[in-house]
């Protein structure tokens, strides 16, 4: 394990930023202050942030509709991100993308995707670019359990395995494709086992354990970076909130949700860091407070930002 104390601090901070971001967005939605829809990732912070922290800062990711924790994990300007959620001119996509399309191509975030499985193909050939240009960078492709049933999953894993591309296919299995439990959408319990069909390594990890996530992704990233071809990782986790803002959670029990809240990935990391004597509770409290303060500052930035001018409607259709 090569994780440093400063990495732990950053990981803990980003996980708290992700949690605070989602709590804020949820609050805004409940009060009708944001239009459209959003897919919150509360409960999945370790899975997303831990994976991104194990990458190099210039590695690439493709993100998903439930991508807020992923892009915060990659390291993002929270102001621009919150501004995008509020549809402002200063947002990452100048207010034209919104929650489902946060992208920062220059920083290696090739975009969240509104289409389940839409990132598979993009990740594959972003990896071709890295291989041909010998950049030494790798691509981590986030997707969910539902996307593992899309045709693009098969095409992408097959192609990437044949061409030995530097991609980590990172499945965040949160047990439900919208309302449908995996028991009703696939005939297996472990998605990582599908790796065998493509002749590539597959691993399952506890997606609520940030340290385990970090260690496995770091190990796999090294393997992938050395030119050994793609790897499938299944990160087993759970989303606490509904699929989207209109979800009444009728397909699962309160008890089930509560049982997963007891496996809170942020609390688990806190316990680990204090238990190992790396940080005091007081020190972590300070980091957490900073994360929440940063989100408040992002909200203020977004609120004070202008809306995109109507004249921008026709801009940027073509390069």
């Amino acid at each position: 394990m090569s994780i440093k104390k400063s990495d732990f601090k950053e990981m803990y901070k980003r996980m708290n930023e992700a949690r605070a971001f989602e709590e804020k967005v949820s609050y805004f939605f409940a009060r009708g202050m944001i239009h459209g829809t959003t897919h919150l990732s509360v409960g999945q912070e370790a899975s997303a942030v831990g994976a991104c922290m194990a990458l190099k800062s210039d590695d690439l990711i493709t993100s998903t509709h439930r991508g807020h924790s992923q892009v915060i994990g990659k390291g993002i300007d929270l102001n621009k991100m919150m501004a995008e959620l509020l549809g402002k001119q200063t947002g990452y996509c100048k207010g034209k993308g919104g929650s489902m399309h946060i992208a920062d191509v220059d920083a290696g975030n090739l975009g969240a995707n509104g289409v389940v499985g839409g990132g598979h193909g993009i990740a594959v050939c972003a990896a071709i670019t890295q291989k041909l240009k010998k950049t030494g960078k790798i691509v981590l492709c986030f997707f969910g359990d539902g996307a593992a049933n899309e045709g693009s999953f098969h095409e992408a894993l097959n192609l990437a395995s044949v061409w030995k591309l530097p991609v980590i296919f990172y499945c965040e299995n949160n047990l439900y494709g919208m309302s449908t439990p995996i028991s009703k959408h696939m005939n297996i319990k472990d998605i990582y086992k599908r790796a065998e069909a493509y002749g590539i390594p597959g691993y399952a990890i506890d997606g609520n354990n940030a340290v385990e996530v970090f260690n496995k992704v770091e190990e796999v990233a090294k393997y992938v970076r050395e030119g050994n071809g793609p790897v499938l990782i299944e990160s087993k986790t759970y989303r606490w909130l509904g699929h989207s803002k209109s979800d009444a959670n009728v397909y699962r029990t309160k008890e089930e949700i509560e049982s997963w809240k007891e496996k809170d990935p942020i609390l688990a990391l806190e316990k680990y860091l204090v238990g190992e004597g790396l940080f005091t509770e007081a020190a972590l409290k300070k980091v957490k407070q900073q994360a929440y303060d940063d989100i408040e500052a992002a909200v203020q930035y977004a609120n004070e930002s202008p809306n995109p001018p109507i004249e921008s409607l026709l801009e940027d259709v073509y390069a």
Partner: protein, 327 residues
């Protein structure tokens, strides 16, 4: 200038651009040693090697998605779909991903990719290997749609498409692959995307036509010329962005317009061009209704006589010209 076939012109365009720019790569099904289903890429694998001429699995969704991913990260991929019909399998990658990235990301991405699509009927390949689906892509802002009708146009437009910073759907005509024509050999021979070409000047009727139907329109023009009708043939060459000005100016000159395309009539691009004419100031110059001649609204049938009957013939085009001339 050198005489070459439409297929050779396409190969020349790709090869010249790949020699010029190491970021240009080419991928598709059986395009390597095999040389492509229609032999378009024969010899390219030998010249450029397996890194840059990449045989893919039969995976259209990921071919198109992959092209988008490579494009957005700094390559200039050319992807070949074996038949345009298979673009249906690649639709998400094209329509929801490649076409949208730039706008949806606030102008911060560019997607310089070309999707080459062999299209059209006349090969006896029946309903799933014969379609002309260009109108589908014209309906998606963010994509450019190019439809070359001659070897020279194919070369000049493909080079432009490869250099363009946007996703370009490049509609090739399978039946034209063996057609010969004179083609400029210079490396810098580029035709502007979005610029129409007047293929025959005339004063009585404007026929707007693209793709395989161009040759038929030119033949029809010669037939009616003997009857004293002077036809102007305008080839838009690019459907999106459409060179409206050239079309409208031609109709203002002639006062009559017929739009011809091979694709099925309902929802086809001929309707769009007819509407462009109708809502322009050319309307005041019209001496007859704007006519559309297009494919019948049926899947392409197998039987050769039926297959021929699907798309406009030279005689049907000549008859339409006589109709708008009240003859």
């Amino acid at each position: 200038m050198k005489e070459m076939t439409y297929a050779e012109a396409i190969r020349a365009a790709m090869s010249e651009e790949m020699r010029r720019d190491p970021d240009v790569i080419f991928m598709g099904e059986d395009i390597g040693l095999y040389g492509g289903a229609f032999g378009v890429s024969v010899g390219m694998f030998e010249e450029f090697g397996p890194d840059r001429v990449r045989d893919t699995p039969i995976s259209e969704a990921v071919i198109a998605g992959a092209a988008a991913g490579a494009a957005v990260t700094g390559m200039r991929p050319i992807a070949e779909l074996m038949f345009m019909d298979f673009s249906t399998i690649a639709m998400d990658s094209l329509v929801n991903q490649a076409a949208k990235m730039r706008y949806m990301f606030g102008g911060k991405a560019k997607v310089p990719m070309v999707l080459r699509c062999p299209a059209g009927s006349g090969t006896g390949a029946a309903a799933q290997h014969s379609q002309s689906l260009e109108a589908w892509f014209c309906h998606v802002p963010g994509l450019k749609v190019v439809t070359p009708s001659t070897p020279a146009d194919a070369k000049g437009l493909l080079k432009a498409a490869i250099r363009d910073d946007n996703p370009v759907v490049f509609v090739e005509q399978k039946l034209l692959y063996r057609q010969k024509g004179m083609v400029p050999e210079e490396d810098d021979f580029i035709l502007e995307i979005g610029k129409a070409d007047i293929k025959r000047e005339g004063s009585d009727v404007t026929v707007v036509v693209y793709g395989r139907m161009l040759q038929r329109a030119l033949e029809a023009a010669e037939i009616v010329a003997k009857e004293g009708i002077d036809v102007e043939v305008v080839d838009p060459m690019t459907l999106v962005p459409l060179d409206k000005e050239t079309i409208i100016n031609s109709v203002k000159k002639t006062g009559r317009a017929i739009v011809v395309n091979e694709a099925v009539k309902t929802g086809g691009y001929a309707g769009e061009i007819a509407a462009v004419i109708a809502e322009s100031d050319a309307f005041d110059y019209l001496d007859a209704p704007v006519l559309r001649l297009a494919g019948k609204d049926v899947p392409i049938p197998y039987n050769p006589d039926l297959e021929k009957a699907v798309v406009p013939s030279v005689n049907e085009i000549a008859d339409a010209i006589r109709t708008v001339m009240n003859r």
